[in-house]
C-alpha cells in the first residue's frame, strides 16, 4: 500500500501526516508514506483544497483533516486485514 499526503506543508498537512502514521501504527500495517508538496503534482490529482489523502493513487479525502476513526476506515477499505 502506498499512501501519499498532498499539501504544501502547512499545519493541516503535518497534522494529517501524523494522524495517518498513528493510524498505520495502530493497525500494524506496513505502508509507504510519501509527502507530495509540489503544486503541479497536487493539481494533477484533481485536488483543489489541501490537505488531501491518497491511498494507492486514489484520492480518499481532501480539504480537511479527517478524524482518526475515518483514517482507519480509509486504510481498512483500501487493504482489508488478513483473516
Amino acid at each position: 500500500m502506498i499512501i501519499k499526503v498532498l499539501g504544501p506543508g502547512c499545519r493541516n498537512c503535518r497534522d494529517l501526516e501524523a494522524a495517518t502514521r498513528r493510524a498505520l501504527d495502530e493497525l500494524g500495517t506496513s505502508a509507504e508514506l510519501e509527502k507530495v508538496t509540489d503544486y503541479p503534482t497536487i493539481a494533477r490529482y484533481g485536488v483543489m483544497a489541501t490537505p488531501a489523502l491518497v491511498i494507492d493513487e486514489r484520492v480518499v479525502c481532501s480539504g480537511r483533516v479527517p478524524g482518526a476513526d475515518e483514517i482507519t476506515a480509509f486504510l481498512l477499505s483500501a487493504s482489508p486485514p488478513p483473516t
Binding site: 504544501p8 494522524a19 503544486y39 485536488v47 483543489m48 483544497a49 486514489r58 484520492v59 479525502c61
Partner: protein
Amino acid sequence: MAPATRALLANRMPTTRSGRWTMLTALAVGWVLAYGVNGWFWDRVFVDLLALDPSTRGTSAAHFFCYDLVKIALLLSGIIFVVTILRSFMSIERTRALLGGRREGVGNVAAGALGVVTPFCSCSAVPAFIGFVSAGIPLGVTLSFLIASPLVNEVAIGLLLSLFGLKVTALYVGSGLLIAIGAGWVLGRMRLERWVEPFVFETRLDGQVIDATAGLTFEQRIRMGFEEVGSVLRRIGPYLVVGIGIGAAIHGWAPEDLFTRYAGPGAVLGVPIAVLIGIPLYSNAAGILPLVESLHDKGMPMGTLLAFMMAVVALSLPEMILLRQVLKVQLLAIYVGVVALGIIGVGYLFNVVLA
C-alpha cells in the same frame, strides 16, 4: 488541532442525538452568559479587587485589553463554529462546477458571491487557482474568486456586525464584492494569460474529483466546527493579542485628536496612505478589527479604516509569495495595483457616505 486534543474531543463527543443537542445548548447558554458578564467581571477585577482608578491611562488600557480580548475571542469562537457548520454544506469543488462554462461578467459576479460562502484557506490558493484555470474558467473570473474569498468572509461579516452595526457591515460587504467583481473583470479584459506560469495551462487533471464535504454526518460537521475554532484561534492568537494590545495602547494613551488632526476627514491623503501601510501587513479580519475599533474611537474616519482593513486582508506579502508560483511578477504587480486602486476608491466613497 493537536492530536491529543483531537482524541480527547473525539471521545468526549456525545454519541447520541439528544446528547449532542444537550451539549450544544449548554455551550450556547455558557457563551451568552460569558459574553454578558464580561464587562462587569473586569470592572470588579480592576476596581474592587485591585483597587485601581479606572480613569488613569494605564488602568483604562489594561481594562480595555482584557475586556476586548475576551469579547473578541468569544465572538470569534461563536461565529467560526456556526460558519464552519454552514460552510460544510459548500465546497470548492461545487463552486468550480457552478462557475464552469460561465462567461466573463456573469462569471465574475458569481465568483465574487461564491468566494464569500466557499470554505477556503489561503494555503489552498495555488491548487484552487490551477484547478479553476485548467478547468477552463477564465482568468478574470478565477481572480474575482481569489479576491473575494479573504476580503468578504462570514467571519469578517459577523465581527463587523457585532462591533460596528448593520450600516457599516452592509457597506463593507457591498464594496468588497464590488472590488472583487470589478477588479477580476478588469484583469480579465486585460488579457494577461501570457503572464500566468505556463505549467498551469499544461496541467491535466487526471485524478477523480472528490468533494471535500459531501456526505458528512451532522456529528462530523459539529466536530469540524470545534476543530476549526481551535485551529483558527491558535493560528490567529498572536495577531489578535498584538492587535488588541496596540488597540489598548491607543485607547489609553493616544490623545483624542491625534488622528483627527493627521488622518481626519480633512486629510486628503489619509486613504492611500492607509492602503499603502496595509498592503505588506499580514493579518486577517479578526486580527485587525480590534485595532480598527480603537482607532475609530479616537476619531479616525471609517472609510480610511475600512480601506486599511481591506488592504491588510486582501493583499499581503505571504499571499503574493504563494501566488508567485502560478503568476508572473508582471501579472502580480497589476493584480496588486488594480485591487489597491479599488480599495482606495471605496475608502473615499465610505468617508463621504459615512461622514
